[in-house]
Symmetry: C2
Subunit: 259 residues, 2 copies
DNA sequence: CGCTACTTTGACGTTTCTCAAATCCTGTGG
DNA sequence: CCACAGGATTTGAGAAACGTCAAAGTAGCG
């Protein structure tokens, strides 16, 4: 089952490196990222070694097997981690949303491909100094453990989806997750009528959900036909009632929102 | 190791608690578990708060939503972590092998069901003292982060399997993993002719691989028909040539053995 | 030696995939 | 402002993989 190869030909363009990095105190992910528990003096150290990079949609951030010379946090945008079988079958194994951490301390080489799904801004640290910092700054190590445990929970929830949900439930689950994230950004509870943008193409959704892009498209159409969602252009989705998409997702109650 | 009476197999019976816990220095998982990097004095502290529990095959260790009053390491045996949808569809989201850690520090309630797949011996710590210990003992916190990152990698590799592999590849991958573990226990490279015991029933395998038990059975039969494996009783498997099962698994080379 | 639970096998149904073609956005250039 | 190009998306028809329901066969234990 060969797959059409990735579309982005303009991928060799180097990422932008911003010079004037904003102060950590004003960072939008200040209280959720790996630096969340840092004191002001610890932030100062981070501020000295951090630098920003941005990536255009479709642009690769790092390739499996490459040397990782930096680690970092997603400040804005969405990136996807993917793994592939040698015949080209691809699985998205993680979505990196704002405040999520990219890279593994102490690891030389990337274990996955990371690709920008939307425009992405990354707050980066060179790996070596960051590794040293981690050993000396319990706040960072502790927060990273917490975040890693959360990611592990998310990965396991995704295993349940991949192994046991129907195509329709998979699509509904994905839309519900995006809707919850949307609500979280606006500090509201997800409920009632909602409008959102899907951060992934149909193909990327398929690779995330373990489906083909045709099946994704068909199930999206089916949910629309059944009045669970409305479509607005290619990426826009309107939920007349959030609870209906949750009902379709196969989860109990408001499914899987830990914390 | 104390013996549980064999009449307890049907599960509501409380787990045995051993009194004379062996010394950590002689523990078979001394250098791989969460305590791997501990110094002798740190081990002494652990030794004072640890206790053992054992479980018979099929016996539940903890149920999703239950209060977790302890965390611990698998000393011997295999346990499975499962999640379920309310209509009963079940997915195994993790296998706990010797040295793997059960429970999440700082979390009150279990996020998954844990069930003994074989006879299991657990080295337990009450959660509260362990949480405190973690804050004071960087060696433990650091090792736990390392182990969690490894588990995350394993979960992501499993996502690739669940989302993209065929039933035949899934079965082959599972057998290859068991074979690798078998080899690791004997400190050999997996290669050539190998004999092993599957630690799971067909149904548990199905729940691990995102299949039905009938499909598992059929694909096992197919691999046997094709000479990739031979069967020896219900659980015994013989690999005439380890590389053949790897070829069938869909992975490149020796697939996914990080370390 | 006979249960009992686990496993295998068969026939058939359903879901999802594959291959193919049409249609729709979005950004670009006239 | 509109027409157009080109990727992204939708839709269709048929095939393959996997699931479901049902029945028969084994291993292993007492």
């Amino acid at each position: 089952m060969p797959k059409t190869s990735l579309t982005q030909i303009n991928s060799q363009v180097p990422a932008t490196t911003a010079q004037g990095a904003p102060r950590c105190g004003e960072c939008p992910i200040r209280y959720r990222a790996v630096c969340a528990q840092c004191e002001t003096d610890e932030l100062k150290v981070l501020e000295q070694i951090k630098f920003y990079r941005s990536y255009e949609p479709g642009q690769p951030i790092i390739w499996e097997g490459d040397r990782m010379d930096f680690v970092g946090s997603v400040v804005t945008g969405v990136a996807s981690l993917t793994q592939t079988l040698e015949d080209g079958r691809t699985q998205v194994v993680g979505l990196l949303l704002p405040s999520d951490f990219l890279g593994r301390p102490g690891r030389e080489r990337a274990a996955y491909n990371a690709t920008a799904a939307t425009k992405v801004v990354l707050c980066c640290f060179r790996r070596k100094p960051f590794d040293d910092l981690m050993r000396e700054t319990p706040h960072i190590a502790h927060r990273l453990l917490e975040m890693t445990l959360d990611e592990l929970d998310a990965a396991r929830e995704w295993m349940l989806l991949l192994g046991r949900k129907t195509a329709r439930e998979k699509i509904a689950s994905f839309i519900a997750i995006v809707a919850r994230r949307e609500a979280a950004l606006q500090k509201r509870r997800p409920a009632g009528r909602m409008e959102l943008e899907l951060p992934l193409t149909r193909e990327a959704m398929a690779d995330y959900l373990g489906l083909t892009l045709e099946t994704v498209s068909r199930q999206v159409s089916a949910l629309k036909r059944d009045g669970v969602i409305e479509l607005k252009g290619k990426r826009g989705v309107i939920l007349p009632d959030f609870s209906r998409i949750v009902d379709e997702s196969g989860d109990d109650a408001d499914g899987g929102m830990v914390d």
